[in-house]
Symmetry: C4
Subunit: 232 residues, 4 copies
């Protein structure tokens, strides 16, 4: 079932490796079929070199596995929580990419220091709060999704399609799983530049709001003028 | 039309990827045919892997597209402004390469700490001033070219063939689009070393003027003695 | 003799190169056949490109070479000491990987700043004490193994399967030589992120103990739930 | 003439590219035939991809070109000075590798923080003094060799087979041109780790002298015990 979506999820997972965002079996990507309420996700702990489209695991929104086969990624409940909280997204990606994860380990969001950031993320990429001992002890992966959702209670998760989870790593999302992976790569690229910017100029401030907004609007919304007309 | 120049522009764009200066569809390169007043530039937002020479877009100096086909890069007006301000250049390249862009995000030029820098750039690689809200709101890309041109009002844009645009990224130029790309690569290489130099020795000063001039003159001008006689 | 183990040791050595953990002939990997009390290790100072399985050297636990052939790695006595001190390990790897070795040169262990670390190492990755002039002058490589073993006198070397040796480099181990190499790669990855984390936030503290324990237990011990059931 | 040496010099130059030590046409390698007093060096400013063994330039110790063909590297007089000052070396390499050149730009030698360094360099890798305006104005490249030679007036250039030239880059040497390139790579590797070590622990001190000496002697001199007996 969902052969085409499985292929997309496989390719998105492999792209994470090609982009240098994951090592070994780390990281995972998933996509949702909103119509049928089904999610396709990478199996847990399988080497990328051996991954095939048919190994992708189909689950429902409660996480029940729909076909005989492999165990889904242990981060599945986080993905499910995000699909339920962010109703317009179609794909989710998780990585431990090095610069972004270092921001997570420092307990810090990634400030918007320039237009590369603003082209895809409208404002700071936030860092989730520390989880409580109770949240860690029980339903840890589900609660990881919840602290992410908390960050976007009063803002639009599509305008900032990713975050860092404190002391953990990156979650990014998008309309498709491809786009989610793309956002994870931009997030890492901007994290590296934010790191360098701060080292070059301690105390540096985010870029002017009007510059950031200009760049975001060049690529998003009704007045966008980047790219070819027939493509986004 | 301009098939040969399109091929050069295509190759210069692909070289930016090979040199690690751009990710995804970011960055763009253009060349000018001064005789006919026509500019060839990368189309907007197309994946490099799919780019063909015939996809390159031909425009006049007002930016009018001369053939049916794709939309030009959204940064076209910046390129046009540079061709008009710097009359001897033949190619322009734009990247968000990571070390140089971090200097841009820190609002800083790249100091001339050594001979690698001086072999191609005669003095500091400058950073443009912050743009005003008005400059951002209207004709933003054209104004980006103007703040770059401002940097060279009283100096020679050929002696310092590139700059960083505040909170944005890199523009570099040269006699040809190949040379513009070459300069963009040197600029990133020197930006990384300037970063490391400052971390190693906070408060470090630029290299002695006579050493910097010696190296620039080894490669440029009537007394140059680098390279083979028949080649530059 | 031990053809299969020789092949595993060869592959583990080559994997160190592919993972970017060693330059030239640096680094070495070994495996032990506990039943026969024999160790297989890389020969000393041979270029990786020329290595063949039959070049791997078989020695007993006193270091006597069991077959005619090449000299074993000069670090052999350190490997032997580790096999004697840590009775459950099956493989040992040594590298001078850059971030981890820099912690060693700074005389510092690698703090547990996040879950990437905790997924494989339960607590700080320790740095051995400085060796005395006597320990260096005589049986230096054997004594290197001893200062490593000292670090785990009161703790479990399987819960922290690696360390840095002061002013020297990395030793990592595992149930197999493959796993030892895997741990060496994780150790370097975490060392880089620990470096970045500290630069981003001087004075940063290790992650909460309950988060670290949660992640270690997801992958290790009777309550592990990461990976496929039939595989570890 | 000297076909075999030309091939070695070609391969050493190409190896600099493969090791990531040079960009574009930067860097150069040479070898000397001591018996005939002839030096073989890379031609000036030729792209590596086009280099052939027959393009290598043969000169005598005064720098006279011995065959019709290309112009030698503009750094030739520095190489010649080193061959005359260091009578036992057989090859010289010059790079602008990024970490080592950053030490040069900071005006600093590379301290011996660990055994990776000590395996090849016995003590700090020194940085040459600033050159005077006169030294720069006339016979600049020859004088570059002289300030390098000054560093080793009272010490053994074979025990520390490389240095950084202030505000410029790296020169390294060895018994052969292959070994010179090898040393240039080790020098860059150690420069990166020295950088990281200092960032991790400001004020860190070099490693203990007895540890450094132990490692150098493992690989060099009559008591060396690293590698296979028939090979160095």
């Amino acid at each position: 079932m969902l052969e085409k979506l499985k292929e997309s999820v496989l390719q998105a997972n492999l792209e994470l490796v090609r982009l240098g965002l994951v090592l070994f079996t780390w990281g995972n990507a998933s996509a949702i079929d909103r119509e049928n309420g089904l999610v396709v996700i990478k199996p847990s702990g399988v080497a990328y070199i051996n991954l095939k489209a048919e190994d992708m695991v189909v689950v429902d929104l409660e996480g029940h596995v729909m076909e005989r086969g492999m165990q889904p990624s242990s981060d599945l409940p986080t993905h499910l929580e995000l699909y339920q909280s962010f109703r317009q997204i179609g794909g989710v990606v998780h990585t431990h990419s090095q610069y972004a994860t270092s921001f997570a380990q420092a307990g810090r969001g990634i400030p918007a220091y320039g237009t590369t950031h603003a082209d895809y993320f409208f404002g700071e990429i936030p860092c989730s709060r520390a989880m409580t001992a109770e949240e860690i002890a029980s339903s840890y992966e589900r609660n990881t999704g919840r602290v992410i959702a908390e960050l976007f209670q009063h803002s639009d998760a599509q305008a900032v399609p990713g975050c860092v989870v404190r002391n953990h790593g990156v979650f990014a999302w998008g309309l498709t799983v491809d786009q989610a992976g793309y956002h994870a790569a931009v997030l890492e690229y901007c994290a590296k530049m934010a790191f360098l910017t701060e080292q070059l100029s301690p105390g540096v401030r985010p870029a002017d709001a009007c510059l950031l907004e200009k760049h975001f609007r060049r690529k998003h919304g009704v007045h966008a003028y980047y790219g070819q007309k027939e493509k986004q």
